[in-house]
């Protein structure tokens, strides 16, 4: 049993990796495509004709899905240092040659951030600040005070529960060429995970906010915090 925790079935599905490195690259590309566009049966059929005698797309699809499982396992269980990753892959797939292992390493490393973001988003979702619009205003009169000169800064905070920009952009790109139902579902998802807030502040509170946030940023760069974060990583 490898430290990646792949099931025997998943390992069987990955038997297709015992091929030349260029073929494995094709499979990895199909897995990338799966992440963005979902399964693509035509592509699997084309690959099956090349790889198998029967031309059955099922083994190819299973291999692609097992690659996704591998990607998730590596992201959740292995730290990002490359030495460690190489060792784990070598232990998990002792039959594969070095060139194929290199391709696999590249595959899992390149999409690590994407998968990490998706996994985080499957966990507790907190709003992230993605954009801020502002307007400087002077209120000159109101119902309760006809003569005034009150400077306010009105801000619109755009909040989103998607944890990484990378994922959000992919969702947006993904919208092209989709059916009406799919687009409606995506917009619904967007609506549920989005929150725009209108707030205001005054100039002295603004200065106080800047100072406090700068303190927070400076604190995060101290050796103490860095040591703790590195320690638990």
């Amino acid at each position: 049993m490898s430290s990646l925790g792949l099931s025997q079935q998943q390992r069987n599905h990955l038997a297709l990796l015992q091929r030349p490195a260029s073929d494995v690259v094709e499979l990895c590309k199909s897995a990338f495509d799966y992440l963005i566009n979902g399964p693509n049966l035509n592509r699997y059929e084309a690959l099956a004709i090349k790889y198998t005698d029967t031309g059955d797309p099922e083994p190819v699809q299973h291999a692609v899905e097992a690659l996704i499982s591998l990607l998730i396992s590596v992201t959740t269980r292995v730290s990002s240092s490359s030495v460690n990753l190489q060792t784990v892959l070598r232990q998990t797939f002792p039959d594969l040659d070095d060139e194929v292992l290199d391709v696999l390493e590249q595959f899992v490393t390149s999409k690590r951030n994407f998968v990490e973001g998706s996994i985080k988003s499957a966990n507790i979702r907190a709003y992230r600040l993605v954009n801020l619009d502002w307007r400087l205003e002077v209120r000159t009169a109101s119902r309760s005070l006809l003569d005034q000169c009150n400077v306010t800064v009105t801000m619109k905070l755009y909040l989103h529960t998607e944890p990484k920009n990378e994922n959000r952009e992919l969702l947006e790109v993904d919208a092209t060429g989709r059916s009406e139902e799919e687009l409606a579902a995506m917009h619904e998802d967007e609506r549920r995970h989005r929150k725009d807030m209108l707030v205001q502040t005054d100039v002295s509170s603004l200065l106080y906010m800047i100072k406090t946030l700068e303190d927070a940023l400076a604190e995060s760069k101290t050796r103490r915090i860095r040591n703790i974060v590195d320690g638990i990583h």
Binding site: T75, T76, S142, S144, L146, D230
Partner: protein, 211 residues
């Protein structure tokens, strides 16, 4: 009932013949120093001002105010609160208030006391009326905490990145209780860009002040 509303001089009101104080208010003011004794008038004015500025404040009960003529006392309280609200809204100073009251033939002792209390609290009244009406949530406080994940239900390893939980809020004026307006998460890069954006606003404010 005879119409006893005030007609403001057009120079002050900006429009002719604007009735700012209703007959009920004027009648309430006329009770001060007459039906209501001078001593009680002072207490009534002080209490009305305190209630206006601090609606949640606990005011020591003064049963004597309502002992002999409760309806008149209530009407006078209403009159005083309304007078101060109207005076503040229209930007009257102590002199303008005094003129208005003298035109209404209010008891001279009541005029003196109403004017003195108004001048003493004018700034607070303006600040209070600035808060009235529709506003977006006003941010006056920011709290932060730095958090790094260790392990979770969906991931066995830490991401090795410290995140900032930023909480923007304000304090309730009466109780000092803190109200959260919005809370969000950002990483160091996003926080830096938020700070830059806020500094950009500050820069524009400074430019406006110079101009």
């Amino acid at each position: 009932m005879a119409a006893t509303a005030v007609n403001l001089p057009s120079a002050e009101a900006g429009a002719e013949d604007v009735n700012l104080l209703s007959a009920t208010v004027v009648a309430g003011l006329k009770n001060l120093g007459t039906i209501i004794s001078p001593a009680l008038t002072k207490t009534l004015i002080a209490n009305s001002m305190k209630l206006t500025l601090h609606p949640d404040a606990t005011i020591a009960p003064v049963p004597e105010i309502y002992a002999s003529n409760a309806a008149c006392a209530k009407q006078s309280e209403y009159g005083v609160v309304t007078l101060y609200a109207v005076a503040t809204k229209h930007g009257w100073d102590g002199l303008a208030l005094r003129q208005q009251l003298e035109n209404l033939s209010i008891h001279s002792m009541a005029v003196d006391e109403l004017t003195r209390v108004f001048e003493d609290n004018r700034k607070d009244l303006i600040l209070r009326q600035l808060q009235l009406g529709h506003n977006f949530p006003h941010i006056t406080d920011v709290q932060w905490r730095i958090v790094s994940d260790v392990k979770s239900s969906t991931s066995d390893s830490s991401t090795g990145v410290a995140n900032f939980y930023i909480n923007l809020g304000h304090f309730r004026q009466s109780s000092g209780e803190r109200i959260t307006v919005v809370e969000f998460v950002c990483n160091a890069e996003e926080l830096q860009s938020l700070i830059n954006r806020l500094k950009e606003i500050e820069r524009h404010c400074a430019q406006m002040a110079v101009a």
